[in-house]
Symmetry: none
Subunit: 300 residues, 2 copies
């Protein structure tokens, strides 16, 4: 088990070396902050998120708490308290070295809805995806067991129908309330929802069946407490499926971006061309390069 | 400034005296937990919420952090870290003594996903809706100008294609960031999405066109910054359409409950029977009466 993050020069990197320069985004509701700065003289983005409460540590947390009364009114009172530090951790995700693209990605930005017709996909979106040659090295690392091997909780190794299932980084795996796993397919030629045809029905049904089975077995969460869906646009163009606890209000699960796997299966069964021909709506940040392509084409 | 919470007997109450017995609700996204228990032998509910990050204490937070590397993959790594306790406080709200009504109020109701086939709708849902004779008097009051007349911001009074548009009660109308309006149709025979056929295409297109136009004119919010959708199941069985600011993360806009109006229009154009024959998924509280009907029918 790794004890520290050793860089190319073998030196240990510690978060206390991070020098914040600006806040990219700050969500008071989610208790999350995206910070731009420097780590060992390299540009870095650090995402901090307070951890959910651990139900099994509540008793200990209250016992060790240092409390201050703030307001009292009738039967209601409010306090501020400092629990023991080890029961109140923060999760940090570090991107280092971070490029300008990473900084852009995490900065809070204006979002608009795009209506992508069949022709828009062929003439604007597809050429953009192809020309960018966006790297999915980290996905291949997972599929080839070069990284995150110990995080995989289920695998079907079939080349055509198989996938790996592993926790999303957003999930700390401490409670099923915010369960979040990703199924990544072994097939490398499905970029997104747009590429799906009835040829993929068996793959999709396999992911749904074996993915939900693995989650019941491992975490005890039944299938009717899951939200199983695909993003369009996805954040990377290698086909993957999101599995969330239904109770988890994750931003990417809203109707303008998420497509339920079971709806996709039904749509492909009744219309083989559904995802090829349909006008698909999706939300996109106005500073995304794809938006400038839509503008250049006179479509926005 | 109060130093402690002195009870009737003058004794100081401290949160470390709280004995938790059960968790009423736990939100991993909001980092909030509702705990039932006892405080000095009285029933109490304690609501804990982690505090948002303080942008001005970030430098200090990183400096004093005790960090542990968890995962490293390419340029990404995740850590868990313990900041100095005084920079990572928790807000507590205490209700004491708490009644049974408080406990009920804070208790999370379990939600499950229901898969409603065409037959389930005919045999379970529709008879339930019909038998309940759920009152929509308040809707008719709006349509007949007996109530909320001054809140209407647009009306098309056509009996077949018309609707009224008014702010949802969730919206205080102070900023467009959380804009939320509802279009309620004049027609009284559309209970929900299930009743829609191509006969309603003109109505749906009229709502989309005139609703978005009215919002641009009145609030300056362009159509591509709107999320326009229908709920299934709806909270009342008289057809209505939701208009939100795309930036507003409203719970009812998640994929398991929301259906984009533009998707509905496309689906009805390509398959007249789409909403009659499709298996529709929807989330429902397990204490909802409809759930007991599904259970009685052996469908859950």
């Amino acid at each position: 088990e790794p004890k520290g993050d050793r860089g190319e020069n073998g030196e240990e990197t510690n978060l206390s070396d991070f020098k914040p320069t600006s806040v990219l985004r700050d969500s008071a509701r989610d208790k999350t902050i995206f910070v731009h700065g420097e780590l060992k003289e390299q540009p870095a983005v650090v995402i901090l998120e307070k951890t959910p409460f651990g139900e099994d540590t509540l008793t200990e947390m209250f016992k060790g708490a240092k409390t201050n009364l703030e307001v009292k009114n009738d039967i209601y009172s409010t306090y501020v308290f400092q629990p023991p530090a080890h029961l109140n951790e923060i999760k940090a995700t570090v991107v280092c070295p971070a490029t300008e693209a990473h900084v852009q990605k995490y900065q809070r930005k204006e979002i608009i809805m795009v209506e992508e017709t069949e022709d828009d996909y062929k003439n604007i979106t597809l050429p953009y995806i192809t020309s960018k040659g966006l790297s999915v090295t980290w996905v291949y690392n997972i599929l080839e067991k070069k990284a995150e091997k110990e995080r995989i909780i289920f695998e079907d190794s079939d080349k055509e129908l198989g996938f790996v299932l592993l926790p999303d980084f957003k999930w700390d795996q401490k409670q099923v309330d915010d369960l979040y796993l990703i199924a990544i397919v072994h097939k490398r030629d499905i970029k997104s929802l747009r590429d799906l045809t009835p040829d993929h029905l068996q793959l999709l049904q396999n992911i749904y069946q074996k993915g939900t089975d693995a989650i019941v077995q491992r975490y005890g969460l039944p299938t009717n407490k899951l939200r199983v869906y695909v993003h369009y646009q996805p954040s990377y163009y290698h086909f993957h499926v999101h599995f969330n606890s239904l109770s988890y209000e994750v931003p990417g699960s809203r109707v303008e971006r998420a497509h339920l796997l079971q709806d996709i299966i039904q749509n492909l069964k009744s219309d083989p061309q559904y995802y090829k021909t349909r006008t698909l709506l999706f939300p996109m940040r106005t500073d995304d390069e794809l938006i400038s392509m839509y503008k250049a084409a006179g479509r926005l």
